[in-house]
C-alpha cells in the first residue's frame, strides 16, 4: 500500500481510531497493530497485491530472530559477557539473515553473472534463471532484525516479548522503507502508554504534508520532466540536458526518499510513536563525511555500528581504516540492490571518503591559503554536492553502459537529437529551490508548526483539506512507487 493514496487514507483513519481506542489494552493494541501492519504489507484488497507468502517471510523473520535472540541471551555469561556459544549463535543469526536476504535479493544476479563468465570462457551452461521474486522491504526488516540479535548478543539489550518484537518488526509506518528503527528505541514507547490527550498532531501534519509535497509534486515532476527520459536514452541528449538530469535526480531521490520518511515519521507520531530522524538537509553538507551524517542517517549508523566498527573502525592503522571505510561503503552499495551500478556507487563513495580524509590531512599540515571562510565553505559545498550528484548517476542508471554513456556525453558532449519538452529554466528553478530549501534553519518550520498548533481545529481542517487539493492538483495522475521500495 502506498502512503499517498485514498485507500491508505481510509486504512489509516481506521487504524488511528482503533489504535487510540485499544491503547489502554496493551495486548489487544499489539495484536491489532500486528494485524494492521500485515494488512498494509499484503494489501489483499488491491488487484496487484503482494503474495501472502511474503508475509510468511516477514513473520518467519520475526519468530526466528526472536527465538535466536532468546537463545543468545541465555548463553551470555556473567555480567552479560559474551561466550563462545553466544558468539557462534550470533554468527549463525547473521549468516541466516544474510542468507535469506541473499537468496531473495542476489540469486538471479549471481547466477546470471557466473553464467556469463562461463560463457565468456566458451563453456556453455544451461540458463537456470530462478526468477526469485524480491519481497518488498526485505532489506529493511532484515537489517532491523539483525540489529536486535546483535544488540542482544552484545549484552546491550535484554530480549523483548515475541509480540513486542513482531509489532516492532512489522510496524507499518517504517516497514517498507525505514527509517531503520532499533528495538531499544521502539519497545519502550509501546510499553509506556501514550497519552491520547496530547497527540503531537501539528508536527505530524507538517511532516506528512512536507513528505507529500516532496514525493507527489517535486519527485514526480522531476522524474517525468527530465530524469526518466534522459536516463532512458542519454545518447540522445546534449550536455545541458544531461547536467540538469544529473542534478534533478539528486533532488528526485532526496525528495522521494526523505518524503517517504517524513510521512512515516508523521504517521507514527499520530499513533504516539516517535521515530529517529533519517535526513538532516544532506545537500547542505560541506564534506562527504558530513553528507553521510545527514543522508539516510539510520542506515549510516547501522553500517557504522554493525559493520564499520566490528571491522576495526578507525582503531587500526591508517590503511586498515581506509579498508574498513571502503568495505563499509561497498557493502552499503550492494545492500541497495543486485546490480553492479550499486556496487560502483558504493565504491565511489568509499573512494571519495578516503580521498577526502587524505586531502584533509594534507591540507591541515599546510599554511592556510588566506581565502575568506565563506568562500571556502561555498567551494566545499559545491564540490561535495557535485561529487554526490555524479555518484547518483550510477545509482539511477539501469546498467553500467547507460551510466558510462551518460557520463562520457556529459564530459565530451555529442550530437543532440532530443530536446526536453519541459522548460530548462523551470527545471533549473525547481532544482535551485530544492537545494536552497536545505539551508532553511530548522527553527523556521518549528516556528510554523508551533503557530499552527495554536490555531482552531476548524482552521486546521480547512488547511489540511486545501493542502490535499493543492498537492493532488500539482502532482501527476497516479503515483509512482517510492524509489526505496525496491530495496
Amino acid at each position: 500500500m502506498l502512503f499517498p493514496t485514498t485507500e491508505f487514507a481510509v486504512f489509516f483513519l481506521v487504524v488511528f481510531t482503533g489504535s487510540w481506542l485499544l491503547r489502554p489494552h496493551a495486548t489487544a493494541w499489539r495484536w491489532g497493530m500486528l494485524a494492521a501492519s500485515l494488512f498494509f504489507y499484503t494489501n489483499p484488497l488491491s488487484p496487484g497485491h503482494q503474495d501472502w507468502k511474503f508475509a510468511l517471510v516477514l513473520t518467519g523473520s520475526a519468530v526466528g530472530n526472536w527465538a535466536l535472540a532468546q537463545a543468545v541471551w541465555s548463553s551470555l555469561g556473567e555480567g552479560r559477557a559474551r561466550t563462545v556459544r553466544s558468539t557462534w549463535l550470533v554468527r549463525f543469526g547473521v549468516a541466516a539473515n544474510l542468507g535469506v536476504l541473499g537468496y531473495f535479493k542476489y540469486t538471479n544476479f549471481f547466477v546470471s553473472f557466473w553464467e556469463n563468465r562461463l560463457e565468456d570462457l566458451g563453456i556453455s551452461v544451461s540458463h537456470t534463471t530462478l526468477n526469485v521474486v524480491l519481497p518488498i522491504a526485505i532489506s529493511f526488516f532484515t537489517f532491523q532484525a539483525l540489529s536486535y540479535v546483535l544488540d542482544v548478543g552484545r549484552g546491550e539489550l535484554a530480549p523483548v516479548k515475541l509480540l513486542d518484537f513482531a509489532v516492532y518488526l512489522t510496524f507499518f509506518p517504517h516497514l517498507v522503507a525505514g527509517p531503520i528503527v532499533r528495538v531499544g528505541e521502539f519497545e519502550p514507547q509501546i510499553n509506556q502508554r501514550a497519552d491520547p490527550r496530547f497527540v503531537e498532531s501539528a508536527e505530524a501534519f507538517q511532516l506528512i504534508f512536507r513528505g507529500l509535497f516532496k514525493k507527489v509534486v517535486v519527485s514526480s515532476y522531476l522524474a517525468t520532466a527530465v530524469v526518466d527520459p534522459v536516463f532512458a536514452n542519454p545518447d540522445l541528449y546534449g550536455r545541458g540536458a544531461l547536467a540538469v538530469a544529473m542534478y534533478a535526480y539528486a533532488i528526485q531521490i532526496y525528495a522521494d526518499f526523505s518524503g517517504y520518511t517524513d510521512m512515516a515519521i508523521g504517521l507514527a507520531l499520530l499513533l504516539g510513536i516517535r521515530f529517529p530522524q533519517n535526513f538532516d538537509a544532506p545537500y547542505r553538507a560541506l564534506s562527504l563525511q558530513d553528507f553521510w551524517r545527514r543522508w539516510h542517517m539510520t542506515l549510516s549508523r547501522w553500517l557504522r555500528d554493525y559493520l564499520y566498527i566490528p571491522l576495526g573502525g578507525s582503531r587500526g592503522t591508517r590503511g586498515a581504516t581506509f579498508r574498513n571505510l571502503f568495505l563499509t561503503m561497498l557493502l552499503g552499495g550492494l545492500w541497495h540492490g543486485a546490480n553492479w551500478t550499486f556496487v560502483i556507487w558504493g565504491a565511489l563513495h568509499g573512494g571519495f571518503l578516503i580521498a577526502e580524509r587524505v586531502v584533509k590531512e594534507r591540507w591541515a599540515r599546510r599554511e592556510p591559503l588566506g581565502l575568506p571562510p565563506l568562500l571556502v565553505k561555498v567551494l566545499q559545498w559545491w564540490l561535495t554536492f557535485n561529487m554526490v550528484s555524479l555518484a547518483w548517476v550510477f545509482f539511477r542508471a539501469p546498467d553500467f553502459d547507460v551510466a558510462w554513456t551518460f557520463l562520457t556525453r556529459l564530459v565530451v558532449g555529442g550530437d543532440v537529437n532530443q530536446v526536453l519538452t519541459h522548460s530548462m529554466l523551470g527545471l533549473v528553478a525547481v532544482i535551485a529551490l530544492a537545494v536552497a530549501s536545505q539551508f532553511v534553519p530548522p527553527r523556521v518550520p518549528a516556528r510554523v508548526t508551533a503557530v499552527f498548533a495554536t490555531t482552531p481545529p476548524a482552521f486546521q481542517m480547512a488547511c489540511l483539506a486545501m493542502g490535499m487539493v493543492i498537492v493532488d492538483a500539482l502532482g501527476p495522475e497516479g503515483i509512482a512507487p517510492f524509489i526505496y521500495f525496491q530495496f
Binding site: 481545529p457 490535499m468 487539493v469
Partner: protein
Amino acid sequence: MPAGMVLAVVGGALIIAMFMNADATARKAAAPRGGEANYSWRQSIATGIASFSDFWRFTGPRERLDQALGKNTGPSDAERSEVEQLAAENAEEAQAVAEADLTPVLRAPTAEAPLKLWVGGDSVSADLGVSLEAIGAKSKLFTVRRDSRVSTGLSRPDFFDWPTHLARDVVPSEDPDVLVFMVGPNDSQNIPLDGGRRGYALGTPEWQQEYRLRVAGTMDALRSRDNDRLLLWVGTPQPGPGAGLKQQDTINWIVSEEAAKRPWVRYVDSWGLLNAPDGSFAARLPNADGQEYQMRQKDNIHLAIAGADRLAWSVWAVLGAQIDLSQSQVQPDPAQSAPADATERPSVPAPG
C-alpha cells in the same frame, strides 16, 4: 491535540478533499493498472462521489486550479468545437467532392522556393525528425520543422492532445505542405473516457474502434481544402524484446486502413523497412552498402541514428513518388539507406 479531535480534523479534511478532488480521484480509479482495465468497486465508488460532487459543484475550485495549472482540461469547449467544426467541414466537403480526385497536388519545390515539411509525434518521431532535417537541408528543397513531444500519442489527450495541437497550432500558423506524423508506442494502454470514469481496455474491439476514430479524425482535420497538403503517417516500428509494448501492429493496421481511404494520407510502413528480411525484429541490419549498423537503441523502441537515417531515406523515397523532386541533386547514401530488398509490407495484417 486530543486524539478524538485529531480524528475529527483529519477525517473532516479528508472528506472535504475527497469531494473537491472527486473528478481527479475518478480518473485515477479508472486509470489502467498493470495493463488491465480496473472497473472495480473503486471505480464505482469514485464515480458515485464524482457525480455527487459535480452536482453540488464541490469540484469547482479544483477545476479552476487545474485550469490555472493547464492540467486535465484538454482543449476548451471553444477549441474543441473549432477542431470538430474543421473535421466536420472537411467531412462535408469530402462528401461533396466524393467524385473528385482528392490526391494532393504539391508544386515542385526548388532551392529558392522550398516546401515546408513538419515532422512530429512522439519521441520516436524525434529520431526520424533529426534525420529528415539533415536530408532536407542537403536537398535544399524542404525547410524542416521538428515538433516531437515525449510520451505522447492518441490515447491520452488529457496528457497531450495531438489533433487539437495540429489543428490549432500547427496548421494555421505554419501551414506545412507535408506533415510526417508518427505515434504509437505510448498508445500501448487503455483509453480512458469521460474524465477516466470509463474506458476501453487495450486491444479490445471497442478500443480499436475508438482509436480508429481518433486516427480518422486526425487525418480529416489535416486535409487541406486546397488539396495541397500531404500527410505521411509513419507506422510505429516493431518493438523488440523487453520493450513491453503491445498492439503496435494493430495500431499500424488501423492507420493503414484509414490512410487507404484518404488520398491525402500515405501510410509508411516502418516494419518492412526496419525489420529483418524474415519480418522479425532486428536491432542491427545491413544497409545498402552491405555493412551492418545498429538500427535501434537499447530500449528496443527508439531508433538509433542509423535506423532513423534509414527510415528517413525511405520517407524521402515516398516523397519522391508523390512530389516532383527533380530539382534535388541528393541521392540516398548507401551507408544510410535500406538495401533494395527492404521494402514496405504490401499490407498490414489484421490483428488476430
